[in-house]
Structures are given as structure tokens and as C-alpha cells.
Amino acid sequence: MKKAILCCNGLDKPVGKIARKVALKLSQLESSEIICLVLFSQFPNRYHKEDYEAVVVIDGCPAKCATKIATNQLGISKRFLISELLKEHKLQHPLSIQSEETDDSIVESLLPFFEKEEHKQERKNETGWDAKAFIYQILKHDKYQFRIPEQKDMFFTENDTWCFINNDIARIGVTDYVQQSLSDILFFNTPEIGKKIVQFDEVGSIESSKAVFEVISPVSGTVIRYNAELVDHPEWINENPYEKGWIAEMQLTNFEEDRMFLINTEEYYKFLQKKVAQHE
């Protein structure tokens, strides 16, 4: 399984030129394949998520064309935005599209931010959320049964949402309590990719004939991916809201502070027990 780099076409802006040069350099260093964005957008079905161990996307400017085009088809594992990196680390900006002299030094100054990510890449794979089967605690109340996963790195909120942390990416979704109180979920209104989310903001919403539930995000971050299968199969959330019914994946931005409002399996079990008893 190889790694892939998808970078923006970047012809009209200096940062785009830098993005392409960084991609070329990285692909030599790590012998990973470069995917041409224009070819990809013309023939998407040539590229499959399963073919690649990791897909790194490099955008030049905030338009983020590469992210927008690649998102669901390839499943991004890491995203970079050259303009942001240059600003964040106060690096020298490229002068113009024509001038080449400063390009190499700028690329060199950017490389460490990419390599650092590479080691994290390895650690991620063994703890991937798809890797292991879930173990559940079952809370029984009357004829209802609420599954609560007992998973390391999985946390809950008192808005009945969960997040599964995997390095700096969190997968989020709703708990059994939500899908049972909504009963048959008919619509999944997708969140917007690339949107910056503060903890407790909405990340899309799910709808049944009974109600609309705004998915309240357990963490702050940027939405990098959502479960596109749910558009046609929203009932998967009823079937299992933790595994095939997951909602979105977010690039974490403020987890240390978010952590304060997250609770673990035992705490959520007690919280739900009290909440369900009150309904009687």
C-alpha cells in the first residue's frame, strides 16, 4: 500500500507554485505517488480509498481546491495549507509566480512541518477506529437497551454525542439514546467540509418524522470528512450509531480545553441512567 500526495494545481498564485514544489520534494523523499488534481477530478473512479495507506493533501491558498475535490473519494488523512503554514511559522513568502530564486529556500523551510507529521502517520495505523471490534456496556431500561461503547480514547458529552480520538483526528457521532428517541432517521443533513467548529457547535443534523437533531460537536476542530453513505442510508445510524453510523471526522484544534467537558464510559452510563429514569 503506497502513500499519495494530492496538491492543488496552483498556477495563478506564488503559494500554489510552492505547494507543487513541496509535493515534488516530498514524493522524492518518501517515494509516494503524486496524484494530479485535474486528472483526478475528471476520472474520480480511477482512484480508490483502499489503494492508499495515507493521502496527504497540500493546498496553496485558502480556496483549498484539493481538499474540496478529494475529500470523500479518497478520505484525507492529513491536510496542509501553504499560506497558513507560512503565516503561522512566520516564514518568508514567495515573491511572485515568475521569480524562482527564493523558492528552494522556502520549500526547505517548510519541509520539517511535513516530516514531523510522517512519524505520527505510522503510530496512527494500529489504533485506527476501524481496526478493532467495539465492546459495549448495555443499559437496560423498561424495554429499551442503550449500547455504550467501552473503548479507550472514546469520550462522551451530556448532549449524547461521542468522539473517538485518533492522534489529532476525532471521529464523532451520536449515541444510542439519540437514535432511539428520534426513532427511524430519514435524513442526514451533511456538515460543510473545511468548516471551523468550536466545541458544541453543530456538525450537520439528522432528521426523523419526530424531530430534527442538530449533531452537537463534542470537540473543536475542522470538519475534514463526513460519512457520505448516510445520505442514502440514514437508517444505518439507527442500526449502529457508533460503527457504521458515524457522522464526521474532525481535525482537532483545541482538545486540551475540550477535554474538560468530556466524560468517559462509566460517567456517561451513570448520566444516562439518571436521565432515562427521570423520563418515567
Binding site: 430519514l186 437508517e235 444505518w236 439507527n238 442500526e239
Partner: protein, 135 residues
């Protein structure tokens, strides 16, 4: 040419409107639209040996009310050939915001949903009959 009937198998959903929808769809097809070519059968009876012998290998169209898909799973277990499978909640989506009814009775919207699914099944039945050269 075997002119055996095609089974229309609803799920016995009792708790919510989606089971009632699937049941009414089966009756609409079997009693009104295609009485000559279709029949229905009690889902739970598929588990009884004496019934299994009658239905093994026969064609069935399943109409399920929720993701558990009991109609589909049980007919597969009874050795039937599932020609097509429908999920009533998917057809309710066309009437977003409207209430199709309860486990006991359908609203006007609910009846429209039944008609939509029944017509879709009728087309499917005719396709199967053509394939068998019976139509």
C-alpha cells in the same frame, strides 16, 4: 413454465407505522394490483419446517419496515429467492415533514406511501413475469 405465484412478504412490524406500511403494501399488491400472480405468507411461519418445504426456492419480494430487515433475513433463511427488497422508511422521505401515521392507522400521507411502494412492486412483478415468459 412454472406459473407459481410470487410471494410479497411484509415485515410484521408492530411498534411503528413502518411495519403497518409494509403490511398494507403487501395487501394492496396481493388483493388489488396483482391477485393473479402474487400471494403473501406469514413471516413467522417461515420458521416452521412444514412451511419451509412449501416455499424453498420460490421467488419473494420483501418489504421491510426497519433496518433489522426481518422479512429479508427470514426469507433467505427459509431458502427463498429474494428478487427485490424495499425499506418503507425510504419511501416516507418523499413526504418530508408529513406524518405517515402510527402503528395502528395510516394518515392520508401514509396511504400515498403505500400506493408508491405498491406501484414500484407491481413493475418489479411484471419484470419477473416477463423474464419467466409468462406475461
Amino acid at each position: 413454465m412454472s406459473n407459481e405465484k410470487i410471494y410479497i412478504l411484509p415485515c410484521s412490524g408492530i411498534g411503528k407505522v413502518y411495519g403497518l406500511l409494509s403490511r398494507e403494501v403487501a395487501y394492496k399488491v396481493v388483493l388489488d394490483l396483482e391477485p393473479q400472480y402474487t400471494d403473501t405468507i406469514c413471516l413467522a411461519s417461515l420458521l416452521l419446517e412444514e412451511i419451509k418445504e412449501q416455499v424453498v426456492g420460490k421467488s419473494v419480494i420483501c418489504v421491510d419496515g426497519c433496518p433489522k430487515c426481518c422479512a429479508e433475513k427470514s426469507s433467505l433463511e427459509a431458502g427463498m429467492v429474494v428478487e427485490k427488497k424495499y425499506l418503507t422508511s425510504h419511501f416516507v422521505r418523499k413526504y418530508r415533514g408529513e406524518d405517515p401515521g402510527s402503528g395502528s392507522e395510516l394518515t392520508e400521507t401514509g396511504k400515498k406511501v403505500v400506493d408508491d411502494i405498491a406501484k414500484a412492486i407491481q413493475i418489479e412483478v411484471q419484470r419477473i413475469l416477463q423474464e419467466r415468459g409468462e406475461l
